[in-house]
Symmetry: C2
Subunit: 333 residues, 2 copies
């Protein structure tokens, strides 16, 4: 994802279309992440909030509201809410995973410490909560409360399931909904809810966000085995080294013979990894076409996302959201 | 605090008076801490939620609602909310402080791990959020959102201020409001809000919770230097060893001569602690009557709490809340 085709990619077109609203979101984020008493807070958050994220989740809320003809200001509040929740989960995830890189930079907990990551994450979550309350919509609060519970539950589930070879595609899907899709679907759903559109359109917005989020996470897990560090900000094989059972490996394990299964048990379940193991894992994934079949799954979720959004009225933003869904899997074409 | 005078202590009288409601709170807590997908969650929370806490915070909500003649069911929801928020902050505090004991038991993060503590705390916070949404009161949501932000801000402030000898009594008070009083005052305030009483009574309930919480935390910090491990579940001098600048030390530092200041700089700011340092710290605290003057401050906050609650109508629960305020400081009489 170089910079040579700027403004031709779907998320860039969305950003250009929503530029005034996005400026409002950025201004609100800067205001609300300040702390009168604890200057450490903006120090930690600036690192993440200003780090050149694509603002994908807030853009989904703004796009959904725009597509539904929303004329108010609370789309900006909710977009900032969604970004704060996302940033809080990144901070807590950093503590958890001891991951060494995030968006190609050192993680907050290497620059500061675990304490700051946990507590500043809590602060952002509380700030998100305040922003939603300001919208005055109990339904919005309900959606985002449920999404928050699903996110935390998915993260806990991942703790116990990630290194367990019994983890199947159903459990993987639950984890992925928690990690990624719950916030995507909440982001699009609340855009519809504040716009007051019909229930079937709200459902379609939810379905779009859910399927897009699942496709997005599957592609992310795929890129971990076939991406380039420069493009993704991650190193190839990070998930393997961290013993995370993601979809490519789940497919390879399901097709494994006895010897292959012993390899996965040793490397993922027992964590006994040696020189050459990542290369052997990649060979096994290739033998069972695990990456190709994972990509097929991502394409199916992309189709679901596009089918869902087609239930909304014709609108330039609708086409951008369709293109966005295609773009998500184009990363692994 | 032995068991010989059971049911004569104010919190025990409150518990006896509110027994049906408290049963409802315990049942709701058990239901809502379950997780369909992640059995690790109740494993971690049961440890804290069932660990024989006095349910002081939920009792404050129930007592406030009872005192205001509330006849509905949402006091139970809000009491459970408050306990979930409290438990979530304990879990996150465990990660942060590497504290070795909590209520006399090993902390969750020694029994499980940091990952579980962070993520299960997040789950409980999300569950708390869902419970409040069910009350349908935006004002209640606003109060608890603000309390959550104050709690997180106070904890972050403590990170930067705790080992800094420049921390004065004003900063200490901000930290204490974050650590303890914000949830106490929110607990009592929401009890008044759902009861629909007049604004001056809601304010009085807030003031009571705020002052009680401050007194409670000051006493806690005092007990750290003069309590017994069996009574408090903490070891004498834990705060000193963890280099936490609490009120007794702040008072001693304010009165310190050059040599004494050098001692506090070495032990608290630089963390260079040697054999005999705790004993010397206790000697300095005694020389400046730092413990006695800290106790006087606690007594003043107790008076403020009692003055505030006296603005509520006469009622058996009002007397129990007055007695509770006295009992908080009686621990250090």
């Amino acid at each position: 994802m170089g910079l040579d085709h700027a403004a031709t990619k779907p998320h860039e077109k969305l950003a250009a279309h929503l530029t005034d609203k996005l400026d409002g979101v950025n201004a609100l984020i800067r205001t609300r992440m300040e702390s009168r008493h604890a200057p450490r807070i903006p120090e930690v958050t600036a690192h993440l909030v200003e780090a050149g994220g694509k603002r994908l989740r807030p853009m989904l809320t703004l796009a959904a509201a725009d597509l539904c003809g929303y004329g108010g200001e609370y789309d900006v509040h909710l977009a900032a809410t969604v970004e704060f929740i996302h940033t809080a989960t990144l901070l807590h995830d950093d503590v958890v995973d001891e991951s060494a890189q995030r968006r190609g930079r050192p993680t907050a907990n290497l620059l500061w410490d675990n304490k700051s990551s946990v507590l500043v994450g809590d602060y952002l979550f509380a700030r998100a909560f305040q922003l939603m309350v300001e919208t005055g919509s109990l339904r919005v609060l309900d959606i985002l409360a449920n999404a928050s519970a699903t996110i935390a539950e998915g993260e806990v589930l991942q703790l116990t399931a990630a290194r367990d070879l019994a983890t199947d595609e159903d459990i993987y899907l639950q984890i992925v909904r928690g990690k990624t899709a719950a916030l995507f679907s909440a982001a699009t759903e609340v855009g519809g809810v504040i716009s007051g559109v019909a229930e079937d359109q709200i459902q379609a917005l939810f379905d779009y966000g859910d399927a897009l989020g699942i496709a997005f996470q599957i592609v992310d897990d795929l890129l971990d085995y076939q991406g380039q560090s420069a493009a993704t900000g991650k190193n190839v094989g990070d998930d393997f080294r961290e013993r995370k059972l993601t979809l490519p490996v789940i497919k390879a394990v399901a097709a494994a013979d006895t010897e292959e299964r012993a390899f996965w048990t040793r490397t993922i379940e027992k964590g006994d990894q040696r020189d050459g193991d990542l290369e052997h894992a990649l060979t096994l994934l290739a033998q069972h076409d695990a990456l190709g079949r994972t990509r097929q799954d991502a394409l199916q979720w992309t189709s679901k996302a596009k089918d869902a959004i087609t239930k909304l009225p014709d609108h330039p933003v609708r086409q951008m959201l369709i293109d966005l869904a295609d773009f998500v899997v184009a990363r692994v074409s």
